[in-house]
Protein backbone atom coordinates (compact mmCIF):
# COMPACT_ATOMS: atom_id res chain seq x y z
CA UNK A 1 0.00 0.00 0.00
CA UNK A 2 1.10 3.52 -0.72
CA UNK A 3 0.30 6.97 0.61
CA UNK A 4 0.15 9.57 -2.16
CA UNK A 5 0.60 13.12 -0.88
CA UNK A 6 -0.09 15.81 -3.44
CA UNK A 7 0.46 19.49 -2.82
CA UNK A 8 -1.67 21.44 -5.29
CA UNK A 9 -3.15 24.88 -5.84
CA UNK A 10 -6.13 25.39 -3.52
CA UNK A 11 -8.28 26.61 -6.41
CA UNK A 12 -7.62 23.31 -8.22
CA UNK A 13 -8.68 21.21 -5.23
CA UNK A 14 -12.31 20.67 -6.20
CA UNK A 15 -11.39 19.87 -9.78
CA UNK A 16 -8.76 17.32 -8.77
CA UNK A 17 -11.11 15.67 -6.26
CA UNK A 18 -13.87 15.49 -8.87
CA UNK A 19 -11.50 13.93 -11.42
CA UNK A 20 -10.24 11.43 -8.84
CA UNK A 21 -13.81 10.46 -7.95
CA UNK A 22 -14.61 10.04 -11.64
CA UNK A 23 -11.60 7.72 -11.98
CA UNK A 24 -12.91 5.66 -9.05
CA UNK A 25 -10.74 7.02 -6.24
CA UNK A 26 -13.26 8.64 -3.94
CA UNK A 27 -11.38 8.53 -0.66
CA UNK A 28 -9.07 11.43 0.20
CA UNK A 29 -8.01 13.59 3.11
CA UNK A 30 -7.53 17.29 2.45
CA UNK A 31 -5.47 19.72 4.55
CA UNK A 32 -4.96 23.44 4.01
CA UNK A 33 -1.23 24.13 4.21
CA UNK A 34 1.17 26.96 3.48
CA UNK A 35 4.59 26.54 1.96
CA UNK A 36 7.06 27.46 -0.70
CA UNK A 37 8.97 25.58 -3.35
CA UNK A 38 12.28 25.71 -5.14
CA UNK A 39 11.52 29.21 -6.44
CA UNK A 40 11.70 30.55 -2.86
CA UNK A 41 8.18 31.93 -3.04
CA UNK A 42 6.90 34.71 -5.26
CA UNK A 43 8.39 38.17 -5.47
CA UNK A 44 5.88 40.86 -6.41
CA UNK A 45 7.39 44.32 -6.39
CA UNK A 46 9.61 44.46 -3.34
CA UNK A 47 7.55 42.00 -1.32
CA UNK A 48 8.45 38.30 -1.14
CA UNK A 49 5.57 35.91 -0.45
CA UNK A 50 7.13 32.71 0.90
CA UNK A 51 4.10 31.26 2.67
CA UNK A 52 1.87 30.47 -0.26
CA UNK A 53 -1.43 28.73 0.53
CA UNK A 54 -1.74 25.24 -0.95
CA UNK A 55 -3.96 22.22 -0.51
CA UNK A 56 -2.44 18.90 0.60
CA UNK A 57 -4.29 15.80 -0.59
CA UNK A 58 -3.55 12.50 1.14
CA UNK A 59 -4.71 9.39 -0.68
CA UNK A 60 -4.03 5.85 0.48
CA UNK A 61 -4.04 3.31 -2.31
CA UNK A 62 -2.99 -0.15 -3.40
CA UNK A 63 0.31 -0.32 -5.24
CA UNK A 64 -1.26 -1.10 -8.61
CA UNK A 65 -3.33 2.13 -8.71
CA UNK A 66 -0.35 4.41 -8.16
CA UNK A 67 0.12 5.30 -11.83
CA UNK A 68 -3.60 6.00 -12.34
CA UNK A 69 -3.82 8.35 -9.36
CA UNK A 70 -0.62 10.18 -10.21
CA UNK A 71 -1.66 10.67 -13.84
CA UNK A 72 -5.12 11.97 -12.83
CA UNK A 73 -3.56 14.48 -10.41
CA UNK A 74 -0.92 15.53 -12.93
CA UNK A 75 -3.60 16.13 -15.54
CA UNK A 76 -6.13 17.91 -13.31
CA UNK A 77 -3.80 20.03 -11.16
CA UNK A 78 -1.87 21.49 -14.06
CA UNK A 79 -2.59 25.07 -15.11
CA UNK A 80 -2.45 25.63 -18.88
CA UNK A 81 -0.85 23.22 -21.37
CA UNK A 82 2.71 23.82 -20.27
CA UNK A 83 2.07 24.06 -16.57
CA UNK A 84 3.48 26.77 -14.35
CA UNK A 85 5.60 27.21 -11.24
CA UNK A 86 3.41 26.61 -8.22
CA UNK A 87 1.30 23.84 -9.69
CA UNK A 88 2.56 21.54 -6.95
CA UNK A 89 4.35 18.31 -6.14
CA UNK A 90 3.41 14.69 -5.56
CA UNK A 91 5.14 12.53 -2.96
CA UNK A 92 4.62 8.81 -2.52
CA UNK A 93 5.52 6.86 0.59
CA UNK A 94 4.94 3.32 1.78
CA UNK A 95 2.18 2.21 4.15
CA UNK A 96 2.94 -0.94 6.15
CA UNK A 97 -0.52 -1.51 7.55
CA UNK A 98 -3.99 0.02 7.26
CA UNK A 99 -7.07 -0.49 9.43
CA UNK A 100 -10.72 0.45 9.08
CA UNK A 101 -11.89 1.60 12.51
CA UNK A 102 -15.58 0.68 12.19
CA UNK A 103 -14.83 -2.99 11.49
CA UNK A 104 -11.30 -3.27 12.81
CA UNK A 105 -10.44 -4.99 9.53
CA UNK A 106 -6.92 -4.86 8.21
CA UNK A 107 -6.29 -3.50 4.73
CA UNK A 108 -7.80 -0.68 2.69
Amino acid sequence: MLLVRAIIRPEKKDEVLAELAKAGFNAATVVDVVGRGKQKGIKIGGIVYDEIPKALLMIATRDEYKEDIVSVILRAAKTSEKGAFGDGKIFISAIDEAYTISTGAKGL
Partner: protein
Protein backbone atom coordinates in the same frame (compact mmCIF):
# COMPACT_ATOMS: atom_id res chain seq x y z
CA UNK B 1 10.11 3.10 14.08
CA UNK B 2 6.65 3.63 12.66
CA UNK B 3 4.41 6.58 12.11
CA UNK B 4 0.75 5.92 12.86
CA UNK B 5 -1.66 8.20 10.98
CA UNK B 6 -5.24 8.00 12.27
CA UNK B 7 -8.16 9.94 10.80
CA UNK B 8 -10.96 10.06 13.38
CA UNK B 9 -14.25 11.82 14.10
CA UNK B 10 -13.96 15.35 15.51
CA UNK B 11 -15.94 14.47 18.65
CA UNK B 12 -13.68 11.50 19.33
CA UNK B 13 -10.57 13.66 19.74
CA UNK B 14 -10.67 13.55 23.53
CA UNK B 15 -11.37 9.82 23.64
CA UNK B 16 -8.46 9.23 21.29
CA UNK B 17 -6.14 11.35 23.42
CA UNK B 18 -7.11 9.39 26.52
CA UNK B 19 -6.66 6.10 24.69
CA UNK B 20 -3.18 7.15 23.52
CA UNK B 21 -2.12 7.98 27.09
CA UNK B 22 -3.39 4.59 28.25
CA UNK B 23 -1.54 2.85 25.43
CA UNK B 24 1.67 4.52 26.54
CA UNK B 25 2.04 6.92 23.63
CA UNK B 26 1.20 10.28 25.13
CA UNK B 27 2.99 12.29 22.44
CA UNK B 28 1.15 13.08 19.26
CA UNK B 29 0.44 15.78 16.68
CA UNK B 30 -3.14 16.46 15.64
CA UNK B 31 -4.73 18.77 13.15
CA UNK B 32 -8.03 19.48 11.47
CA UNK B 33 -8.49 17.99 8.03
CA UNK B 34 -11.31 17.60 5.52
CA UNK B 35 -11.84 14.27 3.88
CA UNK B 36 -14.08 11.62 2.45
CA UNK B 37 -13.99 7.85 2.30
CA UNK B 38 -15.07 5.13 -0.06
CA UNK B 39 -18.46 5.57 -1.70
CA UNK B 40 -21.24 3.73 0.10
CA UNK B 41 -22.58 1.08 -2.28
CA UNK B 42 -25.20 -0.38 0.02
CA UNK B 43 -27.82 2.21 1.04
CA UNK B 44 -29.15 0.04 3.88
CA UNK B 45 -26.09 0.56 6.10
CA UNK B 46 -26.78 4.32 6.30
CA UNK B 47 -30.60 4.22 6.31
CA UNK B 48 -30.99 4.32 10.10
CA UNK B 49 -28.72 7.29 10.49
CA UNK B 50 -30.31 9.13 7.56
CA UNK B 51 -33.77 8.80 9.10
CA UNK B 52 -32.46 10.02 12.46
CA UNK B 53 -30.85 13.10 10.87
CA UNK B 54 -33.94 13.83 8.76
CA UNK B 55 -36.07 13.77 11.91
CA UNK B 56 -33.80 16.44 13.44
CA UNK B 57 -34.22 18.79 10.48
CA UNK B 58 -37.14 21.19 10.28
CA UNK B 59 -39.84 20.87 7.62
CA UNK B 60 -38.97 24.18 6.03
CA UNK B 61 -35.35 23.29 5.32
CA UNK B 62 -35.07 22.49 1.66
CA UNK B 63 -32.41 20.22 0.20
CA UNK B 64 -31.73 18.68 3.60
CA UNK B 65 -32.15 15.19 2.23
CA UNK B 66 -29.68 15.92 -0.56
CA UNK B 67 -27.20 17.34 1.92
CA UNK B 68 -27.48 14.41 4.30
CA UNK B 69 -27.18 11.99 1.38
CA UNK B 70 -24.01 13.72 0.25
CA UNK B 71 -22.44 13.43 3.67
CA UNK B 72 -23.48 9.86 4.34
CA UNK B 73 -22.60 8.38 0.96
CA UNK B 74 -19.22 10.07 0.93
CA UNK B 75 -19.48 12.48 -1.99
CA UNK B 76 -18.82 15.55 0.18
CA UNK B 77 -15.77 16.43 2.21
CA UNK B 78 -16.39 16.56 5.92
CA UNK B 79 -14.21 17.56 8.89
CA UNK B 80 -12.05 15.03 10.66
CA UNK B 81 -9.14 15.12 13.10
CA UNK B 82 -5.86 13.63 11.92
CA UNK B 83 -3.49 12.22 14.53
CA UNK B 84 0.11 11.32 13.83
CA UNK B 85 1.89 9.25 16.47
CA UNK B 86 5.49 8.10 16.38
CA UNK B 87 6.02 4.67 17.91
CA UNK B 88 8.50 1.83 18.31
CA UNK B 89 7.75 -1.19 16.13
CA UNK B 90 6.70 -3.37 19.07
CA UNK B 91 4.18 -0.81 20.41
CA UNK B 92 2.34 -0.29 17.12
CA UNK B 93 -0.21 -3.07 17.62
CA UNK B 94 -1.26 -1.87 21.07
CA UNK B 95 -1.65 1.74 19.95
CA UNK B 96 -3.64 0.76 16.86
CA UNK B 97 -5.96 -1.42 18.94
CA UNK B 98 -6.43 1.40 21.46
CA UNK B 99 -7.37 3.88 18.72
CA UNK B 100 -9.78 1.39 17.17
CA UNK B 101 -11.43 0.68 20.53
CA UNK B 102 -11.82 4.38 21.31
CA UNK B 103 -13.29 5.34 17.95
CA UNK B 104 -15.69 2.58 17.08
CA UNK B 105 -19.37 3.64 16.81
CA UNK B 106 -22.58 1.97 15.57
CA UNK B 107 -22.88 4.20 12.52
CA UNK B 108 -21.46 1.52 10.19
CA UNK B 109 -19.50 4.07 8.14
CA UNK B 110 -17.31 7.08 8.82
CA UNK B 111 -15.35 5.92 11.86
CA UNK B 112 -12.05 6.61 10.13
CA UNK B 113 -8.89 4.90 9.00
CA UNK B 114 -5.50 4.13 10.47
CA UNK B 115 -2.32 3.93 8.42
CA UNK B 116 1.04 2.66 9.65
CA UNK B 117 4.04 4.07 7.75
CA UNK B 118 7.70 3.21 8.11
CA UNK B 119 9.95 5.97 9.46
CA UNK B 120 13.61 5.93 8.44
CA UNK B 121 15.01 8.23 11.10
CA UNK B 122 14.01 10.65 13.85
CA UNK B 123 15.95 13.34 15.66
CA UNK B 124 15.21 14.86 19.05
CA UNK B 125 15.85 18.57 18.73
CA UNK B 126 16.77 19.16 22.37
CA UNK B 127 19.57 16.59 22.60
CA UNK B 128 20.31 15.80 18.98
CA UNK B 129 20.00 12.05 19.56
CA UNK B 130 18.80 10.04 16.56
CA UNK B 131 17.09 6.74 15.81
CA UNK B 132 14.98 4.68 18.21
CA UNK B 133 16.01 6.66 21.28
CA UNK B 134 14.60 9.86 19.78
CA UNK B 135 11.04 8.48 19.64
Amino acid sequence: MKEIIAVVRMNKTNDTKKALVKAGAAGFTAFKVMGRGKLVDDESVILDRKNKLLALAGDDERDTAVLIDGFLTGERLFPRRLFTVLAHDEDVEEIVNAIIAANRTDNNVGDGKIFVLPVLDAVRVRTGETGESAV
